[in-house]
Subunit: 281 residues, 2 copies
């Protein structure tokens, strides 16, 4: 909030523009939908008694990212820079001063998304003092709570716009930060060899993805489509972990009994995240 408080009409709309001039600029931008836009949030009016401060370059960049993120999440990545500039109440020229293209703006937005799951997943899953079901329920709930509507919408729109690897999960390695810890915990639970001696195979990758895929689906139904689980969320998460564990235990034992027939994880599944990371690096 402090970064916003130093941000006045004058400084955002143009370096030396007075208020009427800034308003004129807005008209030039053909701003159509100021009411439902981020206008109010970027233009925090300054208290007239206080001296006006210039917004620092870094702050202004952050404000543009924040506002554009909101607009992209609302309207999709097809929103034009003209519309974004208009809705943020800045000139398109100013926007291009900070981001050389719309793609650059999108990349900057995606690059600053937090990693939901660096929080508890690995540590929680390694805590063998609790049942596997309990640990998976906790991790699943943490992942679901890590989503917010804007983030999920943004990630869906990104996928639909062909930005290949989505960040449902945050820009961390889905495999190393979630799937492998889940399978490591399941193997230990079943008395099977650790990942250090037998690396993750394709069947295990998909097995862990069954659980994760369902989480994504619950989050989508809840935050995008506004359809809740039929039971309380807590009961549904308990059930999900329980059903998955009961099904996954004999499955992983069968996988390891026929280990020599198992395939390694394919390139596609492996490098999906890596590709996007490389793009936004």
């Amino acid at each position: 909030m402090t970064s916003r408080q130093t941000c006045g009409r004058r400084t955002i709309a143009g370096r030396s523009a007075t208020r009427p001039a800034a308003l004129l600029l807005l008209l030039v931008c053909r701003t159509r939908t100021l009411k439902r836009s981020g206008f109010e949030q970027v233009f925090i009016p300054l208290n007239d008694d206080k001296p006006r401060k210039r917004v620092k370059r870094g702050q202004r960049r952050a404000l543009i990212i924040e506002g554009a993120r909101r607009i992209f999440a609302q309207q999709g990545l097809s929103a034009s820079t003209r519309d974004i500039a208009a809705e943020l109440g800045v000139t398109q020229a100013l926007l291009y001063k900070y981001f050389e293209s719309k793609d650059a703006l999108i990349e900057a937005i995606l690059a600053q998304e937090p990693d939901v799951v660096t929080l508890p997943a690995r540590e929680t899953l390694e805590d063998t003092s609790r049942s596997l079901e309990d640990r998976l329920t906790e991790v699943s709930t943490a992942i679901l709570n890590g989503y917010d509507e804007e983030r999920l919408r943004l990630s869906l729109f990104a996928g639909l716009a062909g930005i290949r690897a989505p960040f449902f999960f945050g820009p961390v390695q889905l495999r190393s930060e979630l799937l492998e810890p889940i399978i490591a915990a399941l193997r230990l639970d079943c008395g099977l060899e650790p990942l250090s001696s037998r690396p993750l195979c394709a069947a295990e990758f998909d097995l862990a993805m069954v659980l994760y895929g369902k989480l994504v689906c619950v989050a989508m139904r809840d935050l995008v489509y506004r359809i809740q689980t039929a039971q309380d969320r807590t009961k549904a998460m308990d059930q999900l972990a329980r059903v998955w564990c009961t099904g996954a235990r004999p499955e992983i034992c069968a996988i390891h009994e026929s280990w020599d027939a198992q395939e390694p994880v394919t390139r596609e599944a492996l490098h999906a995240k890596r590709e996007r990371l490389a793009r936004t690096a």
Copy 2:
């Protein structure tokens, strides 16, 4: 294809317009992106030796729906009617002759989506001569094959645009056409009471949704994000059905052992599909 063959430049672009006049109309529409548009597909040039035929009103309406569906699926529902008219190479006025608003056009598109699952789900699931795993694999595969990219993208964009109940599943009752048949088959498999004496409860609804949610996720990853399952699709579907069945059997037995404590399916889950059907009826 036959409906397209009778459709020439003249008849689509304006009743009595000659080719140059039609081109002028296009310019007026400020068509910017003809190359990547449905232009070529709506404007099948007539063989000049053959007499030109007028497109019938119904055919023209169908062509507009088909073209607009493609554009919405590509760009999202935020695509404007101006852009759609331009990309289809018709005037906006013509578009409004057939659809009084963009909403009406979208509703017409959604209303004509086929029901993926009216095909084999119920009959397949009732065939007790095969294992439950086999039947679920077949139904799951049929659902996945029922999706195409355009349909899935359209349904995601519809959800993101706030058209509440999506049609991942086709505009059929998800509950009556899939979830209840799945639970009926599972109950029979476990020797539990049929739905006729004990209607579906919330915990069973969510249990069936675990399976369906995962299917949606596989379809999304495949068709939107271009990420395949790590194993072959066939093996992944087998695994999904197997893991679900193994987990779901003890789960549903436990649900029925504590039947008096079970909740009915909540309004939200129940009426989601119904609401959208009412909207597009």
